[in-house]
Symmetry: none
Subunit: 154 residues, 2 copies
């Protein structure tokens, strides 16, 4: 998988308006416009947050899914789970995207959100819930990351 310059990093505080729109940080938009891409896919995150995924990243996964045979029940179930909560959306002239109500509910978002750049995708959190999540992670054994040590060089 060769991903171009979608490198999302950093943390930003925004709010969702009455029409379920959130701003995408200007820095992220610039990173995207490089490849003239204005379409995102929103879906459930593995944590209690919303994923916002650039089209090129999402389409790569779609391609992998489309190669799975539907004769297998496991495959069908997996595809269903991957696609059900996903939807495409483009941002408007002000750089906002509309978030489906079901995702807002899933992530417990009403107004204040924290947006986090996750390298090749974006996470949108309920600001309070993210703080709780941080708190829980403090309890992780300090060796939890050891397996990654071999993969991450820093």
């Amino acid at each position: 998988m060769t991903l171009s310059p979608n490198k999302f990093i950093g943390e930003y505080a925004y709010s969702i308006d009455a029409k379920s729109r959130v701003n995408i940080p200007a820095r992220f938009r610039q990173a995207l416009s490089v490849e003239n891409e204005e379409t995102f896919f929103t879906t459930r995150g593995f944590d209690a947050c919303i994923y916002v995924i650039p089209a090129i990243v999402w389409q790569n996964m779609e391609m992998e899914l489309s190669n799975l045979s539907s004769v297998s029940e496991t495959n069908r179930s997996f595809i269903r789970n991957q696609t059900r909560h996903a939807s495409p959306s483009t941002y408007d002239k002000q750089g906002r995207i509309k978030i489906p109500a079901s995702l807002l509910e899933y992530a417990g978002i009403e107004k204040d959100v924290t947006i986090i750049g996750m390298i090749n995708k974006i996470e949108i959190w309920n600001a309070d819930r993210l703080a709780e999540n941080d708190q829980n992670n403090l309890n992780l054994d300090s060796n939890s990351y050891d397996d990654l040590a071999g993969k991450i060089i820093l």
Copy 2:
């Protein structure tokens, strides 16, 4: 298999009217019109749902079926099951297709349906039955997807 931009994703709630018509989500229609295609094939799904399959995908499957030797009884049975319940249909000006009564019965559909995009085809479920199916899948061994983990990067 190289499939063009028929990428159906997401979950939608609709209802079937008195004339056995269901709406096809507007997003799906747009995906299809890219290749100027307005014909679907409806047939029984592997699960207790209805498949709505774009012509190009259907034709691809026909080709694969034609490569199965009829010497095998399993093959004969499989081919028979795939084709006998299938029929073509196009959508009307409002984007609805008519579902044959026999398929509605098979899927236990009376009114409320849930439509799920499955990348290259569409599933129509009795909304309640889908919920039951989800419940059953929770009982799947949590390692069921492990084989897929190596293929799907997200």
